[in-house]
Amino acid sequence: MADIEFKKVVKSYGDVKVIKSLDLSIKDKEFMVLVGPSGCGKSTTLRMIAGLEEITEGDLFIGERRVNNVHPKDRDVAMVFQSYALYPHMSVRENIAFGLRLRKMPKDEIDTLVDEAAKTLGLTPLLDRKPKALSGGQRQRVALGRAIVRKPSVFLFDEPLSNLDAELRVQMRAEIAKLQKRLAITSVYVTHDQVEAMTMGDRIAVLHDGDLRQVGTPLELYDTPANLFVAQFIGTPNMNVAKGNISEDGSKISIGSIEFAVPAKWKDACKANAGKPIHVGFRPEHTLPDDEHDWKNTARLSGHVDIVETLGHEVVVYVTIEGLDKRVIAKADVHKTPTPGDAMSVDVNLDELHLFDGETDERLSS
């Protein structure tokens, strides 16, 4: 059992609080992704689990054990670094075996384990090479091998794929996720890439400015973002957000000069917040040209096309909307690609609307 539990954990450097009271539980065998923009505290959080950063306040538990003052080597965690951190003077075999040799394991046992790990990761032909003679992807695998060979109770990944090219990244993403499921070891994975977070994590924790903004499965985060930050951070292209108001009787929402009736699922929330300013969010995939959908409950936005990005399977269109002073991102069919400057009307699927409090940025409770 190796669940990880943060209880009111604070990390500060002098007067600067990088982590402000973090409460987070990571379940046994779970793949938890910590995601957020640079400087949000996600790496610091990971390094606190590893024991490479001291904890200023609060408690951190791995399993049943409080580890605040436990030395990294006694925490039974393995970490894959962004730089891979391979020992340059050792061969691949020695790199993978280093941790085992320090544990005074018999030599033949070490060899068996190293060979096994090498086989899992396809490193067998490279065992006698030095890291210098490996490609980025191969080094990445060696770093993984060094972590898995020890069969630790926790895996930590610090942006392990950010130095790889796009294709390799997609491939390694899948491999790491698969490996983690097979080994069934609690894993914490730090990334700033929300696609990595969405595709790999059992659950995702979104951090921003040292605060935990939301924890949940990828779909929970996508479908019901808890606040404006998560809403805009998760999903590509970004969610469209416009400032708006709820009418005094709570039955209508207006954004700019556009007004529409409150959709059914938000009725109660809008009653409770009647007359208040809100943020209205709608994703690009819920914003389509007026003749390309069969939605029932829509609001029409008209304007002209600004930028067109053709992705092959779809087109992303940036439309400047009249009466809104805002550019809205919509998707369109590849075969009806508009031209910049064209007049264009897009419909927003009101059943997929997200509403956030105009002051606190928190999601209205629906």
């Binding site: 024991g51 490479l52 990294p72 080597k73 962004q82 020992y87 003077h89 941790g99 320090l102």
Partner: protein, 303 residues
């Protein structure tokens, strides 16, 4: 003509020829004047018995290899070579390990470490002669630190620099004190280039601080170590200035001579320029052979 112009044009790609013609002659001239010519001259003198006061043609007497024979058979020269070797041995066994331990302790950047670095580096900043003078006072059996110690324990006054079996050991202490800071700085520079990630990875792999030092840091700064070994051997071969204020004429019974003080004593002080030149030639050959072998077999190896 056309082909020559083409050839010159190709050779001068990126201004190579121009650079060569402009920059080579001055450097070559200075090097010839101050390095090659003097070496060749002392090579020539080493075959003469000559006092250096009259022109070589008038006062010099060709003696062939006699000077070399005398030097190689001279017991004081043997002592000088052994003493030089002792400097090397002490450097390897005490000075460099000490420098390494201190470097590892104070390599990380902090205000306190800066103070320690300065303190340890201070002896190296002192001029060799000044350091020699300071230690002559320390070693003084009547007034120095040694006197204070013998007095404290109520012992007979002790004069280390005048004691045949102690004089050179006393010098070795000064050598270690004077130069460990320099080697420490080389190691600190090397240690600072070792990435923190590697140290952290080793920590997570379960390495203790000593294991990290021996199995990660040491191998990674091997280039700095072999450089510092090179400097310390060359330094030992050329060791001279600091010995002068400490012991005169090679100390009691010539027991504290090094190769260069031997050269100075028997070549310059006794006006035997030919003899001294021969010592110089031997020293030069030893240096060259060492430098080339070391470069070839140690510095060039990529471990």
């Amino acid at each position: 003509m056309g082909r020559l112009r083409d050839w010159l044009y190709v050779q001068n790609t990126g201004g190579r020829l121009t650079t060569l013609l402009l920059f080579l002659p001055p450097a070559l001239m200075i090097f010839t004047l101050f390095a090659i010519l003097p070496i060749a001259e002392s090579g020539l003198y080493s075959f003469y018995n000559w006092n250096g006061f009259v022109p070589l043609a008038d006062g010099g007497r060709w003696v062939g290899l006699r000077n070399y024979e005398q030097i190689l058979g001279h017991s004081v020269f043997h002592q000088a070579v052994w003493n030089t070797a002792r400097i090397v041995i002490i450097s390897m066994l005490i000075q460099l390990p000490l420098a390494m331990v201190l470097a590892m302790l104070i390599a990380s950047k902090s205000a306190v470490n800066n103070v320690f670095r300065l303190i340890f580096f201070l002896p190296f900043i002192l001029a060799d002669v000044v350091a020699g003078l300071i230690w002559r006072f320390i070693y003084d059996g009547n007034y120095g630190l040694v006197a204070a110690i013998t007095h404290l324990f109520g012992l007979e006054p002790f004069y280390p620099l005048a004691d045949q079996s102690w004089a050179f050991n006393a010098i070795l202490v000064v050598v270690v004190w004077k130069y460990f800071g320099y080697h420490m700085m080389i190691y600190i520079a090397g240690l600072q280039s070792v990435s923190d990630d590697l140290i952290e990875a080793a920590k997570l792999d379960g390495a203790t601080p000593i294991q990290i030092a021996l199995r990660i840091k040491l191998p990674l700064i091997w280039p700095a170590i072999r450089l510092s070994i090179f400097f310390s051997v060359i330094g030992a071969l050329q060791f001279f200035e600091m010995a002068v204020p400490l012991v005169q004429s090679g100390g009691p019974g010539g027991s504290a001579h090094t190769i260069v003080t031997y050269l100075y004593e028997y070549g310059i002080v006794r006006s035997r320029v030919g003899f001294g030149s021969a010592v110089g030639v031997i020293l030069f050959l030893v240096c060259v052979v060492f430098a080339f072998t070391y470069q070839r077999y140690v510095m060039a190896s990529h471990k």
